[in-house]
Amino acid sequence: MIAFNKYYNQFNILSVSLVVISLLFLIFKGLNFGIDFKGGTLIELRSSDSKVNVSSLRDKFNQMNLGDISVKKFGNDTDYLIKFENKDSKKNIIEDIKKDLIGSFGNNIDFRRVENVGPKVSAELLKSGIIAISVALALMLIYIWIRFEWQFSLGAICALFHDVIVTLGLFSLLGLEINLSIIAAVLTIVGYSMNDTVVIFDRVRENLRKYADIKIFELTNISINETLSRTLITSITTLLALVSIFIFGGEILKGFSLAMIFGVIFGTYSSIYIANTILVRLNVSQKTILKDEEKN
């Protein structure tokens, strides 16, 4: 049996500092919002022309006076991703750019993907993204409240908040782009983290009924160990699937799968070291669950 409970305090301090650092990053550095949430235009361009490279493209786009511009390689050597504000919301901007580029680089220019999100839509998308995550957290809270006692809900919710905040904090730190698929990833993380926590809690409750005389400090450790191989196996198979998406699934899914990979790792960690320690700190005992069952 591994003595997870020996490090409860140390890991609690670590978790709290991770959350604080993440919040600081989120407040001061902020998130790198993609055009979905910021508005603007994105062009994925392919050209095997040797004249086309990041700096020549950047020069060309700077001349067009489109506001903030970012140009970078995307996946392989012939693909580029260009993003700009399109601050005047010029009409027919894509056609003008295409003509301009063909004018200077010749016909070997292919627009593989174009996305254009107006300011109104991006504000709405951001709002609905925030609502979606809030509703997800609220629903999870309600669900676990129905299924367990309040001490357990508090533990699960703390673990959830930890996972979401630290994942977003990591995205802020690394400057990775937040777009619609990241919201999907965060919601899936919420589901996954909850899933993981619930399995351990289920065991904790079962053990609480079984052993009246074991203190919660020991009891959580027993429960963690009993469910440990399941926790690890599921995390590993999920990570295997995610790593496969990350490596082979193409550029578009990179951000999504990376967020999920972070989330699964944090989710596994938090079920062990946050959700359970809350139970310990709230001094949950057999009485906690029996009292509740008498009431029902």
Binding site: N116, L187, G191, R230, T237, L240, A241, V243, S244, L253
Partner: protein
């Protein structure tokens, strides 16, 4: 938990075979109606354009209010009430009225049988609201009035957009209402939406009006620019003909001038008016105006009574074709703005499919390999259930003709990773039970029973997340939530029926043997 009746086994087999057969219809062509179904590919996989258009209702509201001032004035004149000092500001009509008549005006406006202010009994609301602000009476659209106005202009816009897109003939366009002032257009397979965008960007409000340089025009005149931005003319505000009078329009090559023109045919009313205008106005210039810009202003040389004519204006064949198309399909009630556009080229779509399938195969092989190493014989059982699970998932998606997107493929791969969870929970539990229980059957039975709540909880939480994604998400994200959500049901089916059945078959053959998991 371990007993399966013959009937149940038959049932499970039939259901599985049914969905597997449907799933296979994506690979083979079947003639059967049920098997003709296919998974739809989202725009991000097959390539295409997604356009979200917003109707700019401001001009419509303005126009309606402007017309309303005229109606109000004459209506109240008939009731011997004089309304004065009309002005239009911020979507409101301001006017003054004699103090004694004020009460009367209010009564007329708020009467449920009012002739000028329709009452909607369903919403218990009038079309218009009247208030007193300072010395003015103020009339504006009520909330319901605005909703009615918006939905009706959305209805019209949808129809016109559909006609314009149908004229171009792209395959299977999807044109839907969004909210009460938006129209969503999905155009699969279209990689360059430039033409459609420019066609949808035009209101196509066509009018024929006389050029009138003198200020004596009773209707007043206004200065309008030519379309090529070179020069302008003063034209009368009186509309001789509008696009509504058009029956047909076609591009044609004019054999005399060797120029591309648009010929048009007018309806009866239009032909009559056109004939009259061209007979009285010989020698005058008749301006042809599209969306506030003059296309051309030819001099009338002859009376045109045939009800047909032609527009020239230095068109290329393409621009003449487009103009004819716009005129045929009619004017939009209000300008449309493209507020969101997402276009994916077909080769990127194909690349995404390829990458998605490779990721799926590799993820699948990795998970299967890991599970076999971990659980040996029970790993094989888990993997058989996993394969069937995947086929069921594809089968269900095919049956409902769901749309598969790139995030949707990610959802399938994720399902593969998470689907083993339930079996892992069961096997780990059985392992524990086997430590204290020598009887295999009892150990397996209690393993299944005791893991049930944890499995249920775990899947419900993921299902909740999928539900939220489905209702909040758009396009590709919706595709992800569908595969994730359907994946949970197929997973539970494959775990509790297929994997359990196989497990039961195995242990009933090895009742006495020591079983290691």
């Amino acid at each position: 938990m371990l007993y399966f009746s013959k009937l149940k086994i038959t049932f499970i087999t039939l259901i599985s075979l049914f969905f597997i057969l449907i799933a296979s219809s994506n690979l083979f062509k079947f003639e059967n109606i049920l098997l003709k179904k296919n998974i739809n590919l989202g725009l991000d996989l097959q390539g295409g354009s997604y356009l979200l258009l917003e109707i700019d209702n401001k001009p419509v509201i303005n126009q309606k209010l402007q017309n309303l001032t005229i109606t109000l004035r004459s209506y109240f004149k008939g009731k011997n009430i004089k309304l004065v000092n009309f002005k239009l500001q911020e979507d409101k009509i301001f006017f003054n009225v004699n103090e004694n008549d004020k009460q009367k005006v209010f009564e007329i406006f708020n009467d449920e049988k009012s002739e000028i202010n329709p009452y909607y009994p369903r919403f218990k609301s009038h079309q218009l609201e009247i208030n007193e602000i300072d010395s003015f009476l103020v009339v504006n659209f009520s909330k319901q009035g605005l909703v009615k106005l918006k939905t009706s202009s959305q209805e019209q816009a949808l129809e016109i957009v559909r006609r314009r897109i149908d004229e171009i003939g792209t395959n299977e366009p999807n044109i839907l209402k969004r909210g009460n002032d938006r129209v969503l257009v999905e155009l699969p397979g279209l990689d360059d939406p430039m033409r459609i965008k420019s066609l949808l960007g035009k209101t196509a409000n066509l009018t024929f009006r006389f050029v009138s340089n003198n200020d004596e025009d009773t209707f007043g005149n206004e200065q309008l620019n030519y379309e090529d931005e070179e020069g302008s003319e003063f034209v009368s505000k009186r509309i001789i003909l509008s696009g509504d009078n058009l029956l047909d329009a076609q591009p044609r090559m004019d054999s005399e001038s060797n120029e591309t023109v648009v010929t048009f045919t007018l309806d009866r009313v239009g032909a009559k008016r056109f004939g009259k205008a061209t007979s009285t106005g010989i020698g005058r210039q008749l301006a042809i105006i599209l969306d506030g810009k003059i296309i051309s202003a030819p001099v009338i040389r002859d009376t045109i009574a045939s009800g047909s004519g032609q527009i020239s204006g230095g068109f290329t064949f393409q621009s003449a074709t487009d103009l004819a198309l716009l005129l045929r399909s009619g004017a939009l009630p209000a300008p449309l703005n493209i507020i969101e556009e997402r276009t994916v080229g077909p080769d990127l779509g194909q690349d995404s499919i390829d990458a998605g399938i490779i990721a799926l195969i590799i993820g699948f092989v990795l998970v299967i390999g890991f599970i076999i190493i971990k659980y040996k014989i029970f790993g094989i059982i888990t993997n058989i259930a996993l394969v069937i699970n995947l086929l069921l998932l594809v089968g269900v998606l095919t049956l409902f003709e769901a749309t598969l997107t790139l995030p949707g493929i990610a959802g399938i791969i994720l399902t593969v990773g998470m689907a083993v969870d339930a079996n892992v929970l069961i096997f780990e539990r059985i392992k524990e039970e086997l430590k204290n229980e020598k009887n295999n059957l009892i150990a397996f039975d209690s393993g299944y029973t005791k893991s049930k709540t944890a499995i249920l909880d775990a899947n419900i939480t993921t299902l909740l997340a999928a539900f939220i994604l489905f209702f909040m998400g758009s396009g590709p994200i919706k595709g992800f939530s569908i595969t994730l959500g359907v994946g949970i049901f197929t997973t539970l089916f494959s775990v509790y029926f297929i994997a359990r059945l196989l497990t039961v078959l195995y242990i009933s053959k090895n009742k006495e043997k020591e079983i290691a998991i």
